[in-house]
């Protein structure tokens, strides 16, 4: 049966941090929504049963930043290819940054994206609108029209606003209509065409460097404007301990600010770019061990409420050049859950906290009703085997986006099933039955 209306998941350890649940129980799904947890609802006839014994059942993952490369770069990846990869990775909601081609700065592009995502139907795609037209940092985009068309927030992508006055106006306008601004904090002038964190490794390798201050100066500016404008600001892709501390202070002063970090920033450091490994050419750059530890601590304390993949599939040629000439970014969907679970093994987070950072954490930041499992909520579910060991190998990755520094890493915890709106979008052939 391809699309059963009712499914029961039996005997799994349900971890739903949003509702404080961590127990072995059953889940009953009807018409794409959670019908009941624990006892079956009246007159429930399952058309599909998933045996989840010895497995963990959690909400489908919510990823705040994943590039589909569509529209504009379909030769690299498509919504269909990347949502299929998301399904394999337990991710059911993907937020798509605005730097597509054309840029997501008109309702027409939003409509196009949503229509194509619906056709692929393996995950929910939520576009993030451009804060300024063409992301050029000069004229405000039609933020309200973009929101009405389906954008969940506004951002200027990887092109932080250089003009502070434009940023002030953008935040004021967004605040008027209760639109969240997602800012990638970076002072472009301090970045100064750098490629790596300013520290001992860039000094030795002679790589033009990006100081940590490029981020903290921007955070200071953005926080001042958040206070001035009252806009809800989400800081995207933190890389430094200083920035995390500044955001924590702002949160203590009850400013409406939140933050995320890319999963790889919690595991890699500047040392990983030794030998000019272009897969570690990332934006923001991999920083010091102290920064990594400070970011981990901020994630553990909830200052950073979400871990994202910052998925950026690239064609192979993009990384086949000397380090400074390579494109930044890594393919991250497949490693979002395993890298987050690794933080549990390493004693940084409890299992429940780890799952929260990739489910209700990001959903709550955007005010979305996903990343939680309760009667009436969308049946977006990830089931994984917490004991399964596996190795990330290039041969087993999809042809789009093999650009990751984690090839050869051994991970524990493997997704066995993903359900999106109650439908199985990833499953092993042998373990499901009607």
């Amino acid at each position: 049966m391809k699309n059963p209306n009712s499914t029961q998941i039996l005997g799994g350890r349900l971890i739903d941090p949003a509702n404080g649940i961590d127990r072995v129980t059953d889940i009953f799904i009807k018409h794409g929504k959670i019908a009941a947890i624990g006892e079956p609802p009246e007159e429930f006839t399952p058309q599909r049963t998933i045996d989840a014994s010895n497995q963990i059942v959690c909400p489908g993952l919510v990823d705040l930043s994943a590039r589909m490369r569509e529209p504009g770069q379909e030769h690299i990846a498509t919504i269909a290819s990347e949502t299929a990869l998301a399904a394999r990775s337990g991710i059911t909601t993907l937020c798509c940054p605005p730097d597509t081609d054309p840029v997501i700065d008109t309702p027409a592009v939003v409509t196009l994206l949503l229509r194509r995502a619906k056709r692929s139907a393996r995950a929910r795609l939520l576009p993030i609108g451009a804060m300024t037209q063409q992301l050029a940092g000069e004229y405000l985009s039609e933020m309200v029209a973009l929101k009405r068309a389906g954008c969940v927030a506004m951002s200027n992508g990887y092109a932080p606003l250089a003009n502070t006055l434009v940023e002030r106006r953008a935040l004021e306008y967004a605040a008027t209509f209760d639109i969240m601004a997602i800012l990638r904090p970076e002072d472009r002038h301090l970045r100064n065409n750098g490629y790596a964190h300013e520290g001992p490794v860039s000094a030795r390798l002679g790589l033009p460097a990006i100081p940590e201050a490029a981020e903290s100066v921007a955070v200071a500016r953005d926080l001042a404007l958040a206070e001035h404008t009252g806009c809800r600001i989400h800081f995207h892709l933190l890389s430094s301990g200083t920035a995390a501390r500044m955001i924590e202070q702002a949160q203590q002063q009850r400013l409406k600010v939140s933050a995320n970090v890319a999963a790889h920033q919690l595991h890699l450091t500047e040392m990983d770019i030794e030998d000019f490994d272009s897969n570690c050419h990332l934006n923001p750059p991999l920083r010091s061990l102290a920064d990594r530890d400070a970011l981990r601590s901020a994630v553990a304390r909830g200052v950073i409420g979400a871990i994202c993949s910052d998925h950026q599939p690239l064609e192979a040629d993009a990384k086949e050049a000397p380090f400074p000439s390579t494109a930044t970014g890594m393919s991250g969907l497949q490693t979002l859950l395993p890298l987050t679970l690794r933080l549990v093994d390493e004693g940084v987070l409890s299992l429940s906290e780890a799952i929260a950072r990739v489910t209700c954490g990001p959903a709550d930041i955007l005010g979305l009703p996903y990343g939680r499992l309760q009667p009436g909520s969308s049946a977006d579910i990830c089931i994984f085997d917490p004991r399964a060991h596996w190795v990330l190998e290039a041969e087993n990755m999809p042809s789009s986006g093999r650009n990751t520094p984690f090839i050869g890493w051994e991970f524990q915890g493997q997704v066995t099933h993903t359900l999106f709106e109650g439908r199985p979008v990833f499953q092993p052939d042998h373990s499901t039955h009607a």
């Binding site: 000094a203 030795r204 390798l205 002679g206 790589l207 000019f276 086949e320 000397p322 380090f323 400074p324």
Partner: protein
């Protein structure tokens, strides 16, 4: 888990020469000793040894350079190799060919060694990583990363004048931030056991965390060169003078320009070096550049012997002794 050193073959011998980083004192000393055996070749009537006869060396310069390319070419020819000179910045890459395409095409011409200069740090590593197993890669300067043969010819010059590295104090003055030469010199000096390596520059011309490379940092020239045995002046590019890095040539010379008077702070027998070409009146005045302590021209002529040594060692031939044939 440390990665294997890409520069060494499975027997631990030098296969590529990309950076000083990761090479030990014995290897650097072998290069210097081998170079010593080649210095006489240039003075013979027939300025050739047959060590690399039948081998093809390709000078692949993505960045303009006359001096370095010429010395590599002369060195290769003195080893009897066939030499191809390709100025790639004006050819294939302009037409959209990737670096990897360029490499594959040249490999198809059965080249045995690439000498690479490129504006990107790590370019020589990239070539060494992707080149066919029988090919050696020599870094002739990549971005701000490394220029190891220049550093070795500087070491050769220092050894000729000072015999030993232990007990020496060496000062490097100028734009360390953008200098691949300085990075390689610092690593080479420390590997060879130099007692103290100093760098002297305003903070705008110094990379962060430079002390981790094992140097003492000074911002005052006279204080920095006090009692040193060797002063290495670095070239300052004119465009750096008027940006936000430095206020003017005038102020730079006032603060960091080497004059006879300032040189008095160094040891009486201190030598003065410069990788060239010199900006007279900016890095140093003519009296110093042409004075008795300057060994700048010796650096150029030693450069050929050092590059012959590196090429012959990387090609796996036994240069010592053979050079005397």
């Amino acid at each position: 888990m440390s990665k294997p050193n890409i520069q060494l073959d499975s027997q631990g011998r030098l296969k590529h020469f990309l950076t000083i980083d990761g090479l030990n004192r014995k290897m650097l000393t072998e290069i210097l000793d081998t170079a010593e055996s080649f210095t006489g070749v240039s003075e013979r009537v027939v300025k050739k040894v047959p060590l690399l006869r039948g081998k093809t060396i390709c000078n692949l310069f993505f960045e303009n350079s006359t001096r370095t390319r010429t010395t590599f070419e002369v060195a290769a020819k003195r080893l009897s190799a066939d030499v191809l000179n390709l100025n790639v910045s004006t050819s294939s890459t302009k037409k959209g060919e990737t670096l990897l395409d360029t490499l594959r095409n040249l490999e198809a011409m059965h080249v045995d060694m690439f000498v690479i200069r490129h504006s990107d740090s790590g370019a020589a590593h990239f070539f060494a990583t992707h080149a066919a197993p029988h090919i050696s890669v020599i870094n002739a300067g990549d971005g701000q990363h490394a220029h190891p043969t220049q550093a070795m010819l500087d070491m050769f010059t220092i050894r000729r004048h000072k015999q030993e590295f232990t007990g020496l104090r060496v000062a490097i003055v100028g734009d360390i931030l953008h200098s691949r030469v300085a990075r390689s010199q610092i690593l080479a000096l420390n590997t060879l056991g130099t007692s103290e390596v100093r760098v002297i520059a305003p903070r705008t011309l110094l990379p962060a965390d430079l002390r981790t490379l094992g140097v003492h940092v000074f911002h005052d020239l006279e204080e920095g060169i006090r009692d040193v045995d060797v002063v290495i002046m670095l070239r300052l590019q004119k465009e750096r003078m008027t940006g936000a890095l430095l206020p003017s040539e005038h102020e730079y010379f006032q603060l960091y320009g080497l004059t006879e008077k300032r040189l008095k702070a160094a040891k009486p027998d201190a030598i003065v070096m410069h990788p060239g070409p010199i900006n007279r009146g900016v890095e140093m005045d003519s009296q110093v550049a042409d004075g008795p302590r300057s060994v700048i021209l010796q650096q150029v002529s030693f450069g050929i012997a050092v590059r012959m040594a590196v090429m012959s060692i990387a090609m796996g031939t036994q240069a010592q002794g053979a050079a005397a044939r």
